[in-house]
């Protein structure tokens, strides 16, 4: 909790003939994060080389490429496939050898045939397009060529032309141009050419066909239809193949991927002619288990040792270590950045505070229920770990929304049968709310209090982080600088409190004044501010320019109220429009037109609230997470940890 999983660095040395059992064992455990061996600049590893893949790597990766190509053709996505029970790998390998080549050649033949047909259909379409203009001219296509004494012009002109020389002309209109065919004796060719040029002539090639144009078009159309039919047939075959082989192919991919990863693992090890060395990370609690299993697998012909860890300079992979309910929030952390190995992991705090903020912003029983229903509905469709984590986070947020909805006494903008337990957010829109109106100042002060506490917590965590990570003189300075930030913020607060009395805040204005009539609180505040400034400046003078962010960051928490109120306002406006303006007046004396207006009112109600739910999720989610990312994390959190990515995989289709 609050710190990442403790990691140990393992060094594994064995002779090369033990490589296969060692890799198999590490892969099965799915715990060993391999630190890749790099050939250059590795001082301790002089004389070592990068290993060579185990036998069978080429075949396995070749097969994997084929399987993926087939999955691509059949549009199968491994993650979306529901596994139907696990199979034993040896049996499955035999099945791969038996069935894969046949399946592959079948798919290849079908797709090859399909692409040939598609090209053919395209070709015919092209031909039809070429013949099309000639279809309106009453001439057979073979009559356009083969003359010794005549010249044939075919093309389009922008306007009609009349020729003064002997000729035979056919014309038709295509879109905004005229299509003409002119046949003229060779001796008049020049004049005709000139006249046509004057009319913007653009030559159209005569298709290399014989017979009546329309007949040729009909012929090609029927050919295309035939090709399409055949393509449909092939697609049906491919669909059938997809139905029959989805599970098989997804399992194939898994088995082959595992095989490729295993056989290529030596590429990440350091080797000599006779031995190999693998370095990597294992969670500290699993060290004994892993090394014991390795000893057993190799019959003791292996050397496994724990190397001391230097958390500052080693690239320690980071695995979260959170209680179950906080785990989904890790997704929100990964979006920002994974914590480094030495710093505090705030996932637990985010997992508690994020739903609270969300609930405070949305705070409506109706919207909470809609959101909850949506989460349970989406759970069926959204596969994949990240999606599920997001939904779980949203579920917590919606439960919190319902809780705060009860406190705010809100249901889709209406008031529940009790007065708001927490401050009222009911606006005076359409006379719906009671005379009390919203308790804006109180809500604001609540938000400010949340901000003050959240930011103070952030600064305290900053002190802890600096105490853990820094060394020497800088360590104390950095810790004190963070304390200085707290001092300035609270100094400003104390000074304000001793001048103005505010509801729900300590009232220090009654304290006795000392000196020249200056209240005691102001003096304490000023001293705190001065102390804080000195402490901040001692660490980094330039940070002084950041002082105004204290104000802006605390005030930024006002968005909890502001965004929430805007959502309440929209909900109340929708209710007023739908019920007050559309439905209510019509219910008094019902008529045909009235019923239509009532239906319109119901539509306004549904669409409006759907829209407001979407806005509420966006507003509640984005603003809550933003308060964490911008206002909270900037006080202490750096991130940039390396993801713990253990060697191996979670098997879904096959047994280990």
């Amino acid at each position: 909790m609050l710190t990442p999983e403790q990691m140990s660095r393992l060094l594994i040395v064995a002779s090369r003939d033990q490589m296969r059992p060692v890799i198999a064992e590490l892969y099965r455990f799915h715990l060993f994060h391999i630190e890749d061996f790099v050939d250059q600049g590795s001082g301790d590893y002089e004389g070592f080389r990068i290993g060579t893949p185990l036998a069978g790597a080429t075949e396995a990766s070749g097969d994997l490429i084929k399987v993926r190509a087939m999955e691509n053709v059949l549009s199968i996505h491994g993650e979306d496939v529901e596994p139907a029970g696990k199979q034993s790998p040896s049996e499955f390998r035999a099945r791969i050898e038996r069935e894969l080549p046949g399946l592959e050649s079948e798919v290849e033949t079908l797709t090859g045939r399909r692409s040939k047909l598609e090209t053919k259909a395209k070709e015919y379409e092209q031909k039809i397009a070429e013949i099309e203009p000639f279809s309106c001219i009453p001439l057979d296509l073979d009559l356009y060529r083969g003359y010794r004494n005549f010249t044939v012009f075919a093309g389009t002109v922008t306007r009609e032309v009349s020729l003064a020389v002997p000729n035979e002309t056919f014309g038709t209109k295509i879109k905004d141009r005229h299509f003409v065919v002119v046949i003229t004796p060779n001796e008049h060719r020049g004049e005709v050419e000139k006249a046509l040029q004057g009319a913007g002539f653009q030559s159209v090639p005569v298709p290399d066909e014989t017979g009546v144009p329309q007949e040729r078009i009909d012929f090609y159309t029927s050919q295309i239809a035939e090709a399409k039919k055949e393509i449909d047939e092939i697609n049906r075959n491919l669909d059938a193949m997809k139905r029959d082989n989805t599970g098989f192919l997804a399992a194939c991919e898994e088995v082959l991927k595992a095989e490729v990863e295993r056989t290529e693992a030596p590429l990440r090890f350091a080797t000599t002619n006779e031995t190999f060395v693998a370095e990597g990370w294992v969670p500290a609690k699993s060290v004994a288990e892993v090394s014991g299993a390795l000893e057993k697998a190799t019959g003791g012909r292996i050397f496994v040792t724990e190397v001391p860890v230097d958390p500052e300079h080693d690239a320690v992979p980071v695995e979260y270590n959170n209680p179950r309910f906080a785990r989904p929030t890790q997704m929100l952390m990964d979006i920002y950045s994974r914590p480094t190995y030495t710093e505090i992991d705030p996932t637990l705090m985010v997992s508690i505070v994020f739903p609270l903020f969300f609930g405070l912003i949305l705070g409506d029983v109706g919207y909470g229920l809609v959101l909850l229903a949506m989460v349970f509905l989406l759970r069926r469709f959204l596969k994949g770990e990240e999606g599920q984590q997001l939904l779980t986070t949203l579920r917590n947020a919606s439960i919190s929304t319902i809780f705060f909805g009860l406190l705010f006494s809100e249901f889709l903008g209406f008031e529940l049968p009790w007065k708001p337990i927490l401050f009222s957010r009911h606006l005076n829109i359409g006379g719906e709310a009671g005379a009390a109106g919203p308790a804006i100042p109180e809500l604001m002060i609540m938000a400010i209090w949340i901000g003050i506490l959240h930011i103070t917590l952030g600064r305290v965590l900053g002190m802890v982080n600096h105490a853990r990570q820094d060394h020497g003189a800088h360590r104390m300075k950095a810790v004190l600088a963070n304390f200085g930030w707290i001092a300035v913020m609270w100094g400003i607060l104390v000074a304000i409190w001793s001048v103005f009395a505010m509801p729900y805040m300590p009232d220090l204005s009654k304290l006795p004044a000392i000196g020249a009539g200056v209240p005691l609180g102001v003096i304490v505040g000023v001293v705190l501010i001065a102390l804080g400034l000195v402490l901040i400046a001692r660490d980094a003078v330039l940070d002084i320019v950041e002082i105004p962010t204290i104000l802006s960051h605390v005030l930024s928490y006002a968005r909890i109220v502001a965004v929430g109120l805007s959502s309440v306002a929209i909900a109340m406006v929708i209710n007023y429009m739908a019920i007050g303006l559309f439905i209510g007046p019509q219910l008094k004396n019902i008529s045909i037109v009235g019923i239509i207006i009532i239906i319109a009112g119901v539509l306004v109600f549904i669409i409006g609230h759907l829209l407001n739910t979407a806005l509420g999720i966006l507003g509640g989610g984005l603003h809550s997470i933003r308060l964490h990312y911008v206002e909270f994390f900037t006080k202490f959190y750096k991130g940039g940890g390396i993801k713990y990515n253990p060697f191996g995989m979670k098997r879904r289709f096959t047994e280990d």
Partner: protein
Amino acid sequence: MVDGNMTLEMVQASQMGMKALGAGIAVGLTGIATGMAEMGIGSAAVGATAENKDMFGLALLFTVIPETIVIFGLVVSLLLLF
């Protein structure tokens, strides 16, 4: 604007109207300002995220920084109105 015939109620109503106008202007102008500021950052952020997906967190952070402006506007308008 002001003449001798105005009653106290009229003056109060006019003041309410002015407050509402002020609140509207506060939210509206700060909203425009935030939009303008986020325009440049947002497009750069989308570009950066398209290049490198890991940038998303940081990109979102940068994009929402100017939002503080409109929140201030909203706070001012709420204080004006209530």
